[in-house]
């Protein structure tokens, strides 16, 4: 995801990826600010460069920073990236703590406020957690923040003692006079440190001196998530708050015509019914009453132009669009010419459905609109966008809108959108006092911003041995980038739609192109875990598997022959095969499948083992994953992300499909939009390659790899090739 952003950021000197042994000083074009925190002490932050950026005047209170150390010794880390389960708060804390020389146990985390300047993601350019970028973006800046703070604190202590800073060292937040026995804790010298100039240059530890980075650390957010005290957005409680639930027009893009609320208003606890142009909300003392009130409404909808739209119509349009010329993305040589001279050609159509995200925490947003300010309590992957939409709806200036972020009960891309924040503010404008709007699960599934439907045509030209001499992947679908990030939708190409469209393979002639085909207006498509890589990995890895079998070759051997220029890809492929026992005989009805991807700066190979029952039911028994994500911050997080990403992808492979009939989403809750359960979860083995390469992203790639691995395993088990997700058991029944 967002490789255009990455390229742009790198061109601007913003990307900080390959810097594990940075001895030279601060990241290019970063600026630092130090100041005295409100209660005294040192406050320090590094922000992205902006033309108008100025260091805060000495002594100012500046609430935006990564580190705050109080006189009482408390150490707070303010998290530039949000925590939605991926372990970022722990990894970010480790990066700072490594250089600050403190134990994680000495620190507390805080959510950052909305502020692009201070908390913008250096790889993307604004405040966003997505695209598996957190560690890649902040690997250097946060270590620098820690090193700068430590340097200032050591300098302050050495001045107090009248010695050279080089005669001091730090252990667990205490500066020690190495020759003598003098000790000063960070809290004792925080005020002194805040008065010192910020060093323009700091040395970062070489990799060999890392104490935290690369070692498994306990998550900083676990204790509160185990005892029920963790605060998610939905747990917001502010004085005088009402609770509301909402129903938007069930036909996509439809509007509210009228509503009879007379029965609803008689429900005990219901206070108000709010109408906006496309939805109606019931405001009550508690959600139980709001739900009861919603059920009592008699709503008439204006179903609009989509009243007869079905999935079949949309797929037919995609299929027709696949015949058009595409916009070229990745290319090499002359794919068309090489196709003509190939000994034979092979073509297949692959399809991936619309998908909902179903974060465990349903969408919710608490808003208090007042004449001169607006407060928003939410869990968002895009804080500054949440702030901007609240400002736009209320007409207030940005600085009058405060967004209070929370732990997110899952993101998966859904909370990269602010549609629910916009809606909540529109409702809250009509309510006196604060109101928490909670979507039901049905609302969550039927008004998601869906992963696009993709209809892809893959063609290979093969030599006599079955090796590809030409590869053409035409992907057809809607553009997320054009809507979500218009500045990087360039030359008519959605870079995400074609990302990893030829896999990690060295095809001598290749073309990955894209035809834009949008669904009916009102059906919005958006990011879903693994983004473009996930969709393309399914297509490419299924197709390459087909080519291997068509050539009579082993699927791993066939891939290896295309990887001479990608040694890290080859290494994870070999490692996964070896650990999985690739080639060993399996019982009838069982099979192994492999998939290999490069995405988000990470190489992953997975081998899935499946068993297919006579009735076509697919059980995934075991998944072996080899991953090379470069330098690892917290290996336990890497492992957890592989495990979780596989489960998330398996849900999609086995069950995930949003369909429309008469303009309405047909799925509504976990009974008909199923999620994988513990009894269906495979054994998962994770093997991490020891590497000092630049860090790669880990939030998404394991989701991308599992879908093709399972489909390829199903082929090995049954001889039936599935080119469409989710897996259709009816096609797999023993006949």
């Amino acid at each position: 995801m967002l490789n255009e952003y990455l390229a742009r950021a790198e061109a601007n000197g913003g990307a900080q990826t390959n810097n594990t042994q940075n001895e030279s000083g601060l990241s290019r074009r970063m600026f630092l600010r130090a100041g005295v925190a409100a209660g005294g002490g040192l406050l320090l932050g590094i922000g992205l460069p902006r033309p108008d950026a100025q260091a805060a005047p000495d002594g100012d209170f500046a609430p935006d920073a990564f580190i705050r150390i109080g006189r009482d010794g408390h150490i707070a880390f303010i998290m530039p990236q949000i925590e939605m389960g991926q372990g970022t708060y722990t990894s970010m804390s480790m990066l700072i703590a490594e250089e600050l020389e403190v134990d994680l146990a000495q620190t507390k985390f805080e959510h950052a406020p909305a502020n692009d300047k201070l908390y913008g993601n250096p790889l993307i350019g604004f405040q966003v957690t997505g695209g598996s970028t957190s560690v890649r973006a902040f690997f250097t800046p946060l270590r620098e923040a820690g090193a700068v703070a430590r340097t200032m604190l050591v300098t302050a202590a050495s001045k107090r003692w009248g010695i050279d800073p080089a005669q001091c060292h730090v252990e667990k937040g205490v500066v020690i006079d190495t020759a003598g026995n003098r000790r000063l804790s960070y809290g004792e010298i925080a005020d002194d440190a805040a008065k010192l100039p910020v060093p323009s240059k700091v040395a970062l530890k070489p990799t060999k001196d890392f104490k935290l980075i690369g070692t498994p650390a306990h998550r900083v957010d676990s204790p509160q998530k185990v005892n029920g005290t963790a605060q998610f957005g939905i747990d917001t409680r502010v004085p005088g708050m009402k609770i509301a639930t909402v129903s938007a027009c069930p036909v996509i893009g439809g509007k509210l015509k009228s509503v009879d609320d007379s029965a609803a208003l008689t429900v005990k606890g219901v206070r108000q019914v709010v109408r906006i142009d496309d939805a109606v909300a019931v405001v009550a003392d508690h959600m139980g009453a709001a739900l009861k009130g919603l059920k009592a409404l008699k709503i008439t909808w204006d179903e609009g132009p989509n009243a007869h739209v079905s999935t079949e119509d949309i797929v037919a349009e995609l299929a027709a669009a696949s015949k058009k010329d595409g916009v070229a993305g990745d290319k090499a040589g002359d794919a068309a010419a090489a196709m003509k001279t190939a000994a034979k050609t092979f073509e297949a159509v692959y399809q991936a459905p619309f998908l909902a995200h179903t974060t465990m925490e349903p969408l919710n947003c608490t808003v208090h609109v007042r004449a001169d300010r607006c407060d928003v309590w939410v869990g968002s992957q895009v804080m500054s966008r949440a702030q901007a939409t609240a400002a736009e709806v209320t007409g207030l200036p940005l600085d009058k809108v405060s967004v209070h972020n929370h732990l997110l009960g899952g993101g998966f891309g859904r909370r990269l959108e602010v549609d629910s924040v916009t809606q909540a503010v529109r409702i809250a404008r009509q309510v006196q006092g604060p109101v928490k709007i909670i979507w039901t699960r049905e609302e969550d599934i039927q008004h998601d911003i869906y992963r696009p439907y993709y209809y892809d045509v893959l063609t290979a030209g093969l030599d006599a041995s079955g090796k590809p001499v030409s590869f053409h992947h035409r992907t057809v679908g809607s553009s997320i980038v054009a809507r979500w990030a218009p500045p990087v939708f360039k030359n008519g190409l959605d870079f995400d739609a074609v990302e990893a469209g030829a896999g990690p393979y060295d095809f001598p002639n290749k073309l990955v192109d894209w035809v834009r085909q949008e669904p009916p207006q009102g059906l919005t498509t958006g990011w879903w875990r693994g983004v473009g890589v996930t969709h393309n990995a399914f297509m490419v890895e299924g197709f390459v598997d087909e080519l291997a079998f068509a050539a009579g070759k082993d699927p791993i051997d066939y891939r290896r022959a295309l990887l001479d220029k990608a040694p890290r890809a080859k290494a994870v492929l070999d490692l996964a095969g070896e650990k999985a026992g690739w080639g060993k005989t399996m019982s009838k009805g069982s099979g192994r499948g492999v998939a290999l991807i490069f995405g988000f700066g990470t190489y992953i190979a997975q081998v899935a083992e499946v068993a297919v029952d006579k009735d076509g039911t697919v059980s995934v028994k075991r998944v072996v994953c080899a991953v090379d994500c470069g330098t690892v911050v917290n290996p336990d997080t890497v492992k957890a992300q592989v495990e979780g990403g596989i489960i998330y992808g398996l849900t999609a492979a086995l069950y995930g499909e949003i369909t429309l009939k008469n303009g309405r989403v047909e799925q509504s809750n976990f009974d008909n939009y199923q999620a994988l359960r513990i009894n269906e979860a495979p054994e998962i083995e994770v093997h991490i390659v020891d590497s000092h390469e630049a860090p790669g992203g880990m939030g998404e790639p394991s989701t991308s790899a599992i879908m093709p691995a399972v489909v390829n395993a199903v082929y090995a088990a049954t001889g039936k090739r599935l080119r469409k997700l989710p897996i259709d058991s009816a096609q797999l029944t023993a006949s």
Binding site: E83, M84, G85, L104, A105, L212, T215, P216, A217, H218, R219, V220, D221, S222, P223, K225, V226, G228, T229, A230, F232, I234, D235, R237, I243, V267, K268, G269, H286, M287, G288, A289, L291, K292, T359, M360, E361, P362, L407, L408, G409, G410, F412, T440, R441, D636, A640, E643, G644, I647, N669, F670, D671, A675, R677, I678, N679, A681, E683, I684
Partner: protein
Amino acid sequence: MAYTVDINGTPHTVDVDGDIPLLWVLRDVIGMTGTKFGCGAGLCGACTVHIDGVATRSCITSIDSVSKKQITTIEAIGNTPAGEKIQKAWLGREVVQCGYCQSGQIMSATALLASNPHPNDADIDNAMSGNICRCGTYVRIRAAIKDAANGNDAPGNDNHGRRG
């Protein structure tokens, strides 16, 4: 009308309709937000509490059905022997990711362990398959339940310090 319910040993009197689900009484009326809303239909387990020791979905349990029962929630489950073991095992294995479903997972796992001190894989599947985790922590949930049953301190992490 008013109902008095015993939650974690403390009586609470609430004035709501009798068909209001316990979940919303806990969260919105009493203000105990550890118990989570996930589906509203007894399909995901996020809202699991114990009613007289039995794991129960509070989103489909009406308040008028529980007035004479003992209700235990995530906020107090650590005071029970099984709950304490489960929470400790959860921390040792680093089970949680987003954490939103974990109150419900822990309540289901505690009910299992309290009634079956040495569950096998099938027992774990039976007790836990009503609890969905979208982050996919199932592998660790299974391991943590076994740790708790066996009295193991999880292997796992070199502890760089644990916040309390």
